[in-house]
C-alpha cells in the first residue's frame, strides 16, 4: 500500500465515502437544480459507498485534487482532526450538510468531522448573513440580496463576498470559514442555490461564493503546514500561466457494438471509470465502451505560478513561489507580470516519484486552490507614475487594499507636518550639506508640475529642468547620483559621449590617453523620469541639439533608414556642468563660463551656481562626516530624516494622486510678482532696458508652485507656494543671471548670453568706432589697419577695449555697409 502514489488508492477503504469533497459541491453547481436535488436525496439516504461513487461530481472547484487530508479521511481522519494536516476535507459531513440546507426534514444536528461546527448552524448563519447584512442601516435590502438579484438578472455565476463584511456581521462565521473553508463554502454554495431557486425557479446556473479581502494576508514565505486546508490570502506577482487545460467533468461513452450512449459519467477523484460493459439490456457487450469526446463536458483549468514581490524578500534571499489552481472564470484572470492578491485554500498533494515508481516519496506539493483574485496594480507605490492630468475619477474609485490605505494614511500624516518641506529637503541627500536652496529646487523637480494638454493640441510640460554649474568638488555629481536613484525611472549618463537616443551604446577609446568611455542613449530610456546628465558641457553638439527638442517638445526624433520616428521623451533634465576653465570665473557670464548655447540654457527652469567658497567650516564638517563613516557606527550619523523608501513612496504617491490647481489668490500673486519682476528691469530715469523675466519664467513659476503644492499633498496652489517659487527662482537667477557689471538680474544673460550693460557698452563702442572712422578715413580713400584704430580708440576712450571687441564693432559696421573689411584692413565706402 505504501507504494501507492495514486491518490485514488490511498483514499480507498471501501467504506469510506471517498472524495466527497467533490460530491456535495458538485451537485450544487453542476446539474440543473431540481435534478441535482433529487439525485442528492437519492444519494444521501444510504451511506452506501457505491452510490457515492456513481453520482456525477462535476463540481469545478475542489475535486480531482486529492489532498492529504482526503487520504486519511478513510481511517485516521475521523479520529485525528486535531493535527493541522489532518483537517480532512471530510466532506462526508458536508453531505449531510445538504440536508441541513434543504432544511426541515433533517432532524439530528450534523457536525463537521472532528469539530463542533454544526452544519445546521452554519447554514443558518450564512442565510442570516446574506439576508440581513447591510453596509448602511438605511438600506432596505441587504447588500448581498441586492447582489444576488443582480446576478440573477445578468445570469452571473459568482457572488463576491467581502470577508470583512462576514466578519463584521458574524465573526464566528468568519472564523469557521477561514478554518474550515471547504465545508463552509460547500454550505455557502448550497445556501445560495436554495435562495436563487426560491427567487427564480427557472434559474439553472449555480452561483458560487467567492470570498475575498480576508482580514489578514499571509506572506508567501510564512505559509507552513499548519495553513493547509485553511483559507489564506497572499500577495504576489504572477510569473507564469499555463495554457488552459480542459479538464473533463462528465464523460459520455458509446458502445461500439450497439451504439448505445451511456449516461454521463462523472469524475471521481481525478479519474473517469469506463463502464466495463454496455448498459443496454439487449447488448451487455463486455469492454465495448469508448469515450465520445465531443459529448463530454469539460471545464477550464489553469495553473499559475505566483512569486513574491521584491518588497517581501529578506536580504540575501530569493523570491519564493507558489502554484495557484484556477478554474472556470478565474482562468486568465491575471497575466504574467500582474501583481495580485489571491484568496484561496492552501492545499497539499502527494507527489509521485514517477509514473512508474512504486516508492512513495514522503513529499507533498502545495498549491492554492483559488477562490478569488484581485489585481493590486493600482496600489503599487512605484507604479508608472504620471504627471499628466488624467481623469480624476480614473484613480479615485479604485478600491485599494487596506495596507495601501494605511501607508497612504501615514504619508498623509507626514504631509500634514508643518515642516514637511524642510524635512523633505533635509532627507534629500542627507550626506551633502548646505545647498539647501539647490535641494529645494531638486525637490520641486522630483515632484514636478502638472503637465497640461489643451484641446487645441498645445501642451505645456510639467517637468522642471535644472542645471547646476559649479566648481569641481562641490558634490554636483553626488547630488546627481542621488536624484538618479530616487527618481522614478532615473537615468544617469555622462555628457561625454551621450548619443541621446538609441538603446545601443558604443565603446569609444580616447586615442591619446587610452581612456575608455561609453556612449549611451539615455533620453528615451528616461521617459517620464529624470534624465541626469553629468558633464553636460562635454556633450557633443549633435546630442545637445537633440535636447532642445526634448526639453520643450518632450519628444525625440530619430531619423533612421528614411523614416523619422518621434519618440516620447517626457523627461525632466537634471544636468550639471563644469566651467570651461577649471574654475568658475565670476566675472564672466554663465554662458561664457560653460560654453553652452543660450537657446539651450534658457530652457532650464532653474540654474544653480555651486561655487566652492573654500569654507573651512564646511570642509571640517565633511572631514568629520567621513571619519565617522569609516570608524563609527554609521547609524548615529542619521538625523531626523525620512528614509529612502518612505521618501520614494511619498514621491510616487504625490506624483500619482496629487494634481494641484492654481487658486485665484495664487494666480493673482503670480501676476503681481511677474509684473514686479519685469518692472525691476526699468530703472527710473534710465533708458537702458534690462529684461529680468521672460514668459518662460512665468511658466517655470507655475510649475514650481505646483510642485510645491504637491509636496504638501495639496490640491490647490496657495499664495505661499507662489511666493516660495519666486524665491527659488530668484535665488537661482541671482546666482546665474546677475550681471556682474551692474549687480542686477538680467535674463538676457541667459537668453542671449549678453547682458544689457554689455550690450550698451558694445553699442557705445560701435558708435565710437564709427565716429573715428568718419573722422579719419576718406570715402573710398586709403585703408587702415584695425590695430591703428584700436590705438586711436584707446587714446580717446576711457574704458578698456580689446581687439576682439573692436573686431565685433567693425563687423557690425561692415554689416551696415559703412566699411569694408578685408582681413585686418578697414576701408570706408
Amino acid at each position: 500500500m505504501a507504494s501507492d502514489s495514486s491518490p485514488s488508492h490511498r483514499n480507498g477503504g471501501p467504506s469510506s465515502p471517498i472524495d466527497q469533497s467533490s460530491s456535495p459541491i458538485a451537485n450544487t453547481n453542476s446539474s440543473p437544480g431540481d435534478a441535482a436535488q433529487r439525485r442528492r436525496r437519492r444519494e444521501r439516504s444510504p451511506s452506501d459507498a457505491s452510490l457515492f461513487a456513481t453520482p456525477p461530481s462535476q463540481r469545478a472547484r475542489f475535486d480531482a485534487t486529492p489532498t492529504p487530508s482526503s487520504t486519511q479521511s478513510g481511517r485516521g481522519g475521523r479520529r485525528s482532526r486535531a493535527t493541522p494536516m489532518a483537517t480532512p476535507t471530510s466532506t462526508d459531513d458536508a453531505i449531510p450538510s445538504s440536508d441541513g440546507g434543504e432544511g426541515e426534514e433533517a432532524a439530528p444536528p450534523m457536525y463537521v468531522w472532528g469539530t463542533n461546527i454544526s452544519v445546521h448552524d452554519v447554514n443558518a448563519a450564512i442565510l442570516r448573513f446574506l439576508r440581513h447584512f447591510r453596509e448602511n442601516p438605511l438600506q432596505t435590502e441587504g447588500k448581498y440580496m441586492r447582489a444576488i438579484h443582480h446576478i440573477l438578472e445578468i445570469e452571473g455565476e459568482t457572488l463576491d463576498v467581502d470577508a470583512h463584511d462576514v466578519f463584521d456581521y458574524d465573526s464566528d462565521l468568519y472564523t469557521k470559514m477561514v478554518r474550515y473553508p471547504l465545508e463552509v463554502l460547500a454550505i455557502f454554495d448550497i445556501v445560495l442555490m436554495e435562495m436563487t431557486s426560491k427567487i427564480n425557479d427557472l434559474f439553472e446556473k449555480h452561483i458560487q461564493a467567492r470570498i475575498f479581502n480576508l482580514r489578514t494576508s499571509t506572506p508567501m514565505r510564512n505559509l507552513n503546514p499548519s495553513d493547509i486546508e485553511k483559507m489564506v490570502s497572499i500577495k504576489g506577482m504572477i510569473i507564469r500561466c499555463s495554457s488552459i487545460i480542459p479538464e473533463i467533468r462528465e464523460a459520455v461513452f458509446k458502445c461500439l457494438v450497439c451504439g448505445y450512449f451511456s449516461d454521463p459519467v462523472g469524475v471521481d477523484r481525478g479519474r473517469v471509470s469506463e463502464p466495463p460493459r454496455c448498459n443496454k439490456e439487449e447488448c451487455r457487450a463486455l469492454n465495448s465502451m469508448a469515450l465520445v469526446h465531443n459529448r463530454c463536458r469539460f471545464a477550464d483549468k489553469q495553473i499559475v505560478r505566483l512569486q513574491e514581490t521584491p518588497d517581501d524578500i529578506p536580504e540575501g534571499g530569493t523570491p519564493h513561489t507558489v502554484s495557484l489552481l484556477m478554474h472556470d472564470k478565474l482562468v486568465d484572470a491575471g497575466k504574467p507580470g500582474d501583481r495580485v492578491e489571491v484568496t484561496g485554500i492552501y492545499r497539499a498533494m502527494s507527489v509521485r516519484v514517477g509514473p512508474t515508481q512504486r516508492s512513495v516519496k514522503s513529499l507533498f506539493k502545495t498549491y492554492i486552490d483559488c477562490l478569488h483574485i484581485k489585481k493590486t496594480d493600482k496600489s503599487r507605490m512605484q507604479a508608472e507614475d504620471q504627471t499628466e492630468h488624467l481623469n480624476a475619477s480614473d484613480n479615485m474609485n479604485e478600491d485599494v487594499p487596506a495596507d495601501f490605505q494605511d501607508k497612504v494614511e501615514q504619508l498623509k500624516e507626514l504631509a500634514k507636518l508643518p515642516d514637511i518641506y524642510e524635512r523633505l529637503t533635509r532627507s534629500l541627500a542627507p550626506n551633502i550639506w548646505e545647498l539647501d536652496d539647490v535641494k529645494k529646487g531638486l525637490l520641486c523637480q522630483l515632484f514636478g508640475g502638472s503637465a497640461l494638454k489643451l484641446p487645441s493640441g498645445a501642451s505645456f510640460r510639467g517637468d522642471i529642468n535644472i542645471l547646476m554649474v559649479g566648481d569641481p568638488g562641490t558634490s554636483k555629481s553626488q547630488l546627481l547620483q542621488y536624484i538618479h536613484k530616487l527618481a522614478p525611472r532615473g537615468i544617469y549618463t555622462s555628457g561625454r559621449g551621450s548619443s541621446a537616443v538609441g538603446l545601443t551604446a558604443y565603446v569609444a577609446k580616447d586615442p591619446e590617453t587610452g581612456e575608455t568611455v561609453l556612449e549611451s542613449g539615455a533620453l528615451v530610456l528616461s521617459d517620464r523620469g529624470i534624465c541626469c546628465i553629468d558633464e553636460f558641457d562635454k556633450m557633443s553638439e549633435n546630442a545637445r541639439s537633440m535636447l532642445h527638442e526634448v526639453m520643450e517638445q518632450q519628444t525625440v526624433s530619430i531619423a533612421k533608414a528614411g523614416i523619422i520616428a518621434s519618440l516620447n521623451a517626457r523627461t525632466s533634465v537634471l544636468a550639471c556642468a563644469n566651467p570651461s576653465g577649471s574654475r568658475y570665473n565670476p566675472r564672466l557670464s554663465v554662458i561664457d563660463n560653460i560654453h553652452l548655447p543660450p537657446t539651450l540654457l534658457s530652457r532650464f527652469d532653474l540654474i544653480y551656481l555651486l561655487l566652492d567658497k573654500a569654507d573651512e567650516q564646511a570642509d571640517r564638517r565633511l572631514a568629520k562626516h567621513i571619519v565617522a563613516l569609516h570608524f563609527e557606527n554609521p547609524e548615529s550619523i542619521q538625523q531626523d530624516v525620512l528614509d529612502l523608501p518612505t521618501l520614494t513612496a511619498y514621491l510616487s504617491y504625490a506624483r500619482r494622486y496629487v494634481h494641484p490647481k492654481l487658486s485665484d489668490e495664487a494666480a493673482d500673486e503670480l501676476t503681481r510678482g511677474y509684473v514686479e519682476l519685469r518692472r525691476r528691469g526699468n530703472f527710473p530715469g534710465s533708458s537702458k532696458k534690462v529684461i529680468t523675466a521672460t514668459p518662460r519664467q512665468i511658466e517655470s513659476l507655475i510649475r514650481l508652485s505646483e510642485a510645491l503644492a504637491r509636496i504638501r499633498f495639496s490640491e490647490w496652489v496657495e499664495k505661499h507656494d507662489v511666493i516660495e517659487a519666486f524665491r527659488l527662482l530668484e535665488v537661482a537667477m541671482q546666482q546665474s543671471a546677475t550681471d556682474h557689471a551692474t549687480g542686477t538680474i538680467d535674463m538676457d544673460l541667459i537668453t542671449t548670453g549678453v547682458s544689457a550693460s554689455e550690450r550698451i557698452r558694445r553699442e557705445n563702442l560701435v558708435s565710437a568706432t564709427r565716429n573715428l572712422i568718419m573722422e579719419k578715413l576718406q570715402l573710398g580713400g586709403p585703408s587702415t589697419r584695425s590695430m591703428e584704430l584700436l590705438e586711436e580708440l584707446k587714446k580717446q576712450g576711457s574704458a578698456e577695449i580689446h581687439l576682439n571687441d573692436l573686431r565685433n564693432a567693425l563687423a557690425t559696421l561692415a554689416g551696415e555697409g559703412f566699411i569694408v573689411l578685408l582681413g585686418d584692413t578697414v576701408k570706408r565706402i
Partner: protein
C-alpha cells in the same frame, strides 16, 4: 564510540531513528514536534565535535561520490547558488501503532500506509554548487583531504564489522593524517571570506562553541548548471530546523548530512544524490591566532617583496595591491559600501599585460582561495551573462559570472577592450559591472523585477588608460622597471601569506578620538590646498589608512600608518601627473 549506542557516521539514519524512538517512549507526542528537533542533533553534535568525529566524515565531491555509500554521513562544501523554497513532507507517521519519522530522508524507511495518521513538516531546499573561482591550491588541498577522509570512511565501512580491532587503529592513523592536513589547510586558506564564511574542515572550529548546527539533507544534481565543469558536483541540500535568516544566497558553508543517492532520479534527468541530516556550520570568528606582531611584520615584508617582484619592481603598485587584497566591505551606509578598495592599474598595453597581468593573476591565485578573471572584450560584454537570471521554465536561478561568494577576488582585464558597438546585453552588463564597482551590488534578474544582492568582491582592473567604464576607487599608473625573474615562492612562505591575508582582513579596527582630530585637520588642510578633493578621495584615504594599519596587524590606527598612506597617495599623485 563512548556511550553512544549507535554509529552516527555509518548509519546516521539509525541514530536518528533511535533518538526518535527514545523521545517517543519518553512520552513526547510526535504531532507536537512540528518538525523541531527532539534530541537527535545533540547526539550528532557530540559525536562530531566533542569526539572528533567530524574529520572522519568523508567529503562529498566528484571524486568520492562513486565510493561513498548511500545513507552514510558526508560533508559537502559549497556555495548556496539558489534557494528552491520550502517543501512539505510527511515528518512522522504511524506505522501500525508505532510512530516513525521521515526526517532526514526522502524515502520512507518503513512502509507508509496511506490511511495512517501522519504529521506534516517542512524543510528548506538549497541548491549548492562548489564555490566558484576556487584557486587550484584550495581544490588540491580539499580534494586530498577528501580523498584521505573518504579513504578512511571507506576503509571503515569495509572493515568495520570484521576486523574491528586491527583496522580501527589503522583508521585512526588515517584520520590523524587527515586532521593534520586539515589544520594546515585551514591555516592556509584561513577562511578567506572572513566574517562568517567558510567553515573550513571543522577541526579548528572545535575551539569554538559557535557551531550552529543544522540538520539537513543533500541531494546533488549534476549537469543542471552547465557553467560549471561537469567534474564539480552540485548538490541539493535539504535543511531542517533552520531559521530562515541564517542562510543567505552566495554564502559558503560546509554541510554535514546524510547522503542519499537516488538512482531513479538519475534516470529522470536530474542526477540526484541526496544526503540527509546535515549540519551546517558557520565559522563566526577566525581562530585567534596569536602570532606576535613582529612575525606579522616579517610576513608583510616578504609579501610586499614578492608582490614587488611580481609587479616588475614597482613598489608603489605592490603596496597598493597589498591594501587592495586586504580590503573588504565592513559596513554599508545608504548606498556607500564602506571598506571596499577597488584598484585600477593603468598603463598596461596588450604586451605588458601578457607578462605582468599573467604574473599578477597567478600570484593572486596562489594567495587567495577564491579568484576569478574576466577578460573584457566587446564580444564578451555583448554575449556574457554576468548577473544571474531566473529561468522560470526550469524554475532555477541560472548563475552568472558575477554570482560570487563574498570575498572573491576578480580581475577585469580591460586592455582587450577595443572600440565597438555594445548591444543591449552589453549595455546592461556594463551597468552591472559598474554597480558592482561603485556599490558592491549585483542586480539579479528575476524577469519581472530585479533584485539587488549585496556582494563583497575585490575588484582589480587592468587597463591602458584610466577606465571610465569601471571607475575604481584607486587609480594607479603601473610603472614596472624590470621583468620579474623567478617568482617561485616556496610553499612555506605561501602558506604564511595566505594565513596573513585571511586573518588580517577581518580584524576589527578603531581609531581613537585624538587621531580623529588629526585626520580631520589633515583632510581640511588638504582640501584648502586642493579644492578638487572630494568626499570620494577622503573616503579612499581613510579606507587605505585602515587597511594599512591592518596590514601591520594593528587594530587601531596610528599616526605613522596615516602618514604612510599620505605618502603613498603623494607618490600616486606624482605618477598621475
Amino acid at each position: 564510540m563512548g556511550g553512544i549506542p549507535f554509529d552516527c557516521l555509518a548509519n546516521p539514519l539509525g541514530a536518528v531513528r533511535i533518538t526518535f524512538e527514545r523521545a517517543i517512549s519518553s512520552g513526547s507526542d510526535p504531532k507536537t514536534f512540528n518538525g523541531k528537533d527532539w534530541g537527535a542533533i545533540e547526539v550528532f553534535k557530540e559525536c562530531l565535535f566533542d569526539q572528533n568525529g567530524l574529520s572522519q566524515v568523508p567529503i562529498l565531491d566528484s571524486s568520492t561520490i562513486g565510493r561513498i555509500k548511500p545513507n552514510s554521513l558526508v560533508r559537502f562544501r559549497g556555495m548556496v547558488q539558489d534557494m528552491l523554497g520550502n517543501e512539505l513532507y510527511v515528518g512522522a507517521f504511524k506505522d501500525g501503532s508505532t510512530w516513525r519519522t521521515n526526517k532526514f530522508t526522502d524515502v520512507a524507511s518503513f512502509p507508509m500506509n496511506s490511511s495512517s495518521e501522519m504529521s506534516m513538516w517542512e524543510r528548506r531546499l538549497l541548491y549548492c554548487v562548489p564555490v566558484p573561482g576556487q584557486s587550484p591550491w584550495v581544490v588540491e588541498a580539499s580534494s586530498s583531504a577528501a580523498a584521505a577522509s573518504s579513504e578512511a570512511a571507506i576503509n571503515r565501512g569495509d572493515n568495520w564489522a570484521s576486523q574491528q580491532g586491527e583496522k580501527r587503529r589503522r583508521d585512526d592513523d588515517t584520520s590523524v593524517d587527515t586532521m593534520d592536513c586539515n589544520i594546515s589547510n585551514h591555516e592556509a586558506k584561513g577562511s578567506p571570506s572572513s566574517t562568517k564564511k567558510m567553515r573550513e574542515d571543522g577541526l579548528p572550529c572545535q575551539a569554538f562553541q559557535s557551531h550552529e548546527l543544522e540538520i539537513g539533507e543533500t541531494s546533488s544534481m549534476q549537469s543542471v548548471i552547465p557553467d560549471f565543469d561537469t567534474k564539480s558536483l552540485s548538490c541539493l541540500v535539504k535543511i531542517y530546523d533552520s531559521p530562515e535568516t541564517e542562510l543567505k544566497l552566495n554564502d559558503v558553508f560546509e554541510f554535514v548530512g546524510v547522503f542519499t543517492f537516488d538512482p531513479e532520479l538519475v534516470a529522470s534527468k536530474n542526477e540526484t544524490d541526496d544526503s540527509d541530516a546535515l549540519f551546517e556550520d558557520e565559522l563566526v570568528n577566525l581562530p585567534p591566532n596569536k602570532r606576535v606582531p613582529y612575525v606579522i611584520r616579517g610576513i608583510r615584508e616578504s609579501l610586499v617583496g614578492y608582490l614587488t617582484a611580481v609587479l616588475g619592481n614597482d613598489g608603489v603598485a605592490a603596496q597598493s595591491v597589498l591594501l587592495h587584497l586586504l580590503s573588504q566591505v565592513h559596513t554599508r551606509v545608504d548606498t556607500v559600501a564602506v571598506g571596499k578598495l577597488s584598484l585600477n592599474l593603468t598603463g598596461f598595453t596588450k604586451e605588458t599585460v601578457s607578462v605582468f597581468g599573467n604574473q599578477l593573476n597567478l600570484a593572486i591565485q596562489s594567495l587567495l582561495p577564491l579568484t576569478q578573471a574576466l577578460p573584457l572584450t566587446v564580444e564578451y560584454l555583448n554575449t556574457a551573462s554576468l548577473a544571474p537570471k531566473k529561468d522560470y521554465k526550469s524554475n532555477r536561478l541560472i548563475t552568472g559570472s558575477l554570482q560570487l561568494a563574498d570575498g572573491t577576488h576578480l580581475i577585469l582585464d580591460e586592455t582587450q577592450l577595443n572600440p565597438g558597438t555594445l548591444n543591449s546585453t552589453g549595455v546592461e552588463n556594463v551597468q552591472i559591472l559598474k554597480s558592482l564597482m561603485e556599490m558592491q551590488k549585483v542586480e539579479y534578474d528575476f524577469e519581472y523585477y530585479k533584485l539587488e544582492m549585496s556582494s563583497d568582491v575585490q575588484l582589480l582592473v587592468l587597463s591602458e588608460g584610466k577606465s571610465n567604464i569601471l571607475p575604481a576607487d584607486l587609480v594607479l599608473p603601473f610603472q614596472p622597471s624590470s621583468v620579474g625573474s623567478s617568482l617561485n615562492a616556496d610553499a612555506n612562505a605561501l602558506q604564511a601569506w595566505r594565513w596573513y591575508l585571511a586573518t588580517l582582513r577581518s580584524q576589527p579596527h578603531v581609531i581613537d578620538p585624538e587621531l580623529q582630530k588629526v585626520i580631520e585637520n589633515d583632510l581640511v588642510e588638504a582640501r584648502q590646498e586642493d579644492r578638487s578633493l572630494g568626499s570620494n578621495d577622503f573616503s579612499r584615504w581613510l579606507t587605505m589608512a585602515r587597511l594599512m594599519s591592518a596590514s601591520f596587524g594593528e587594530t587601531s590606527l596610528s599616526l605613522e600608518h596615516w602618514q604612510m598612506v599620505k605618502e603613498l597617495e603623494r607618490l600616486r599623485k606624482n605618477r598621475l601627473k
